[in-house]
Amino acid sequence: MELIKQFVFSFMSTIGFAVLFSSPKKSVVYAGLVGAIGWMFYYITFAMMNSYVASTFFGALTVGLLGELFARKYKKPATLYITAGIIPLVPGAGAYYTMLYLIENEFSLAATKGVETFFIAAAISMGIIISSIFSKSIKRVRQKD
């Protein structure tokens, strides 16, 4: 039940962002799917490993791979799906709590949260880069044939 809820919430919020980023009408729903499935991977791996950074990495990797897949299928740049798809993973809450701790003069907590936020952002980029390497190598193999 909780899983279905999480899926619907992340799907809707990714769709919202897809429209906010003016993505073409046809790709809005696919972007939503990419975001929701990426978030599911994040959610499940987080339940397994209890690490924000690692699970964000897996979530972003899923988003990247799915984005590349849709990009190949519909002959559109992968950014269309990836840009909105990573949004649920973006550490907005982490940034907020970093700021809140700074206001409360809790500098060590702020540093912990800030570093974690930065590493989550880095994990997202790593996931996307690795997935794009995958797709490039697939392309190269196909061109050789």
Binding site: F21, S22, T98, M99, A121, A122
Partner: protein, 261 residues
């Protein structure tokens, strides 16, 4: 069309302008650096007699130079105000492919780019509505209650109109985000006081989500990791200062209302 070998110097200049316009359009729509460089170079190399092309793209400008019959021609274009528009990226991408593979004339190409530049597929209202949906569901994703959901929706909806008004004044991205986040926190606080919404944190987190520079951060790190250090730095600065603007905006209001700790 048949005598591609004889395109004259003027034509080459126009081609360069076309490539720059296409590149600028993509860059303004928030495309990745490598994609813009790729598109610009592909457009330039698509016509014959151009021996050497190189493009250097950073988020704040495009520099291209090409060699035509032993003569070097270059073009520089400054880029300001990046706002993400994925539809334009897709359209320019498609355009560059058709331009390269067909014998489309350069004038037609420039006209097509100008047409793409004017396209806005969603109205302000639709974007505000979907932005509000994004915020409110994001709030639920972080275990907000249904009351938080309503508060985040309304706050985000109001603020996105405010934001589009403020950004039409062309102040600076920092001021825009600062003002927007000040209003987000004030409105969220009011909603909580009125009894709509249970947790101030969650409403604010949801409502600031459209302002959070998530795309800028990930693109910055991506650019840096793939060797585009200048773009990485430039986007990184944008991301850091956007985050600071939001933090200042929210922070000031929270200190004011809740009182410094």
């Amino acid at each position: 069309m048949t005598n591609l070998n004889e395109i004259e110097r003027e034509e080459v200049k126009k081609l360069l302008v076309l490539a720059t316009l296409a590149g600028r359009l993509m860059l303004k729509a928030g495309a990745e650096t490598y994609r813009v460089e790729d598109t610009v170079m592909r457009i330039c190399q698509s016509r014959k007699d151009i021996q050497y092309v190189d493009a250097f793209v950073i988020p704040t400008g495009i520099f291209i130079s090409l060699e035509y019959k032993g003569e070097l021609i270059s073009y520089i274009k400054r880029v300001k105000n990046i706002s993400i528009d994925l539809n334009k990226i897709a359209l320019v991408n498609e355009f560059s492919r058709t331009f390269v593979s067909s014998h489309m004339s350069i004038e037609d190409g420039i006209r097509e780019i100008k047409r793409i530049n004017k396209i806005h597929i969603y109205s302000n209202f639709t974007q505000a509505f979907f932005g509000a949906i994004a915020s409110s569901f994001f709030c639920l994703l972080f275990q907000g209650t249904s009351m938080d959901f309503i508060a985040a929706f309304v706050v985000s909806f109001i603020v996105s109109f405010l934001l589009s008004f403020v950004s039409s004044l062309k102040l600076s991205f920092f001021i825009d985000k600062f003002i927007a986040s000040v209003f987000i926190s004030i409105l969220s606080y009011l909603f909580i006081k009125l009894g709509i919404g249970n947790s101030l944190d969650k409403v604010i987190i949801g409502a600031i989500m459209p302002l959070v520079p998530g795309v800028a951060i990930t693109n910055a790190i991506r650019d840096t990791m793939s060797g585009d250090f200048m773009s990485g730095l430039s986007r990184g600065m944008e991301a850091v200062f956007s985050a600071l603007a939001i933090a200042f905006g929210v922070g000031i209001v929270l200190i004011f209302f809740i009182g410094g700790y």
